[in-house]
Amino acid sequence: MTTTTTRILTVDDSPSMRALLNHALSGHGFDVSQAEDGMAALDWLAMNEVDVVITDINMPRLDGFGLIERLREGSRHRDRPILVLTTESSDEKKARARAAGATGWIVKPFDPEKLVAAVRRVAH
């Protein structure tokens, strides 16, 4: 049996939130990389492989909606699981994320156990 580490890119403009995510996910054996906004995520993804993207919505330069749309435009990340992790609770924003191609929607403050379970469920 071979085991491979699930690689996750977390995209959030808050260093505090990235630190919490890194702590929660690394502690469960995931390989975690970080980007500070949608543009930084696109740059990182152009050079690196990842299994799951977890992204915030409200970010400077390129927000989470824009990031999802850009990733879905190309063939490389068309089927990549993308989980939105956000303080937003409106149904309109959730519907917009879904329409853009998000795989799931998680409301902050996140529960580490639920987040890990969601990542395991969507990771291919």
Binding site: D13, S14, P15, S16, M17, A19, L20, N58, P60, T87, S89, K94, R98, A102, T103, G104, W105, I106, V107, K108, P109, F110, D111, P112, E113, K114, L115, A117, A118, R121, V122
Partner: protein, 189 residues
Amino acid sequence: MSFESPIPPNPSGAPPLERVTVMQGQALASANASIEYSTVLGSCVATCLFDPQSKVGGMNHFLLSEPPANLPGTQVDEHYGVYLMELLVNQMLSRGARKSNLKAHLYGGANVNRNMMKIGTMNAEFAREFLRREGIALMREDLGGTSARRVDFRPASGQVRLRTVEDRFAPPVQPTLRPALSTGDVELF
């Protein structure tokens, strides 16, 4: 007028503003010059943020509880604290502020109740550390001690008035628990 200017006295006694009380667990932001945010703090901490360029200001008011049992290693519920701070930052951004412009004041965090072991200090330290990590300049702080405080903040000008008040005016200490409806629920599409 700037974030460093106090609210001037109002000798005429005229009521110039709409006063909005910021309750525990709330985060509000505005660019409306007719609004004054007001809150009374015991062990709770209030963060005032101001963007001098866009003239947007905001205030939150929190007291973090001990972390849930499945999150050892921290003294307060940092997950919920980061969430409350992010709510404030997002309120600011949605009204036109830029994160790189944000400047902060911190108030409160008194250890009013001797039976509650330094909960005010722990909350103050969380707030300072959050601002440091986020790169938000802390321009002024009045934290700790044993006295309750009243903070008035005009979001459009950044002007602040800080007064010490009798402890009986501070709301009873109720550590902020995560809202029941916001427990990190996951919805897969």
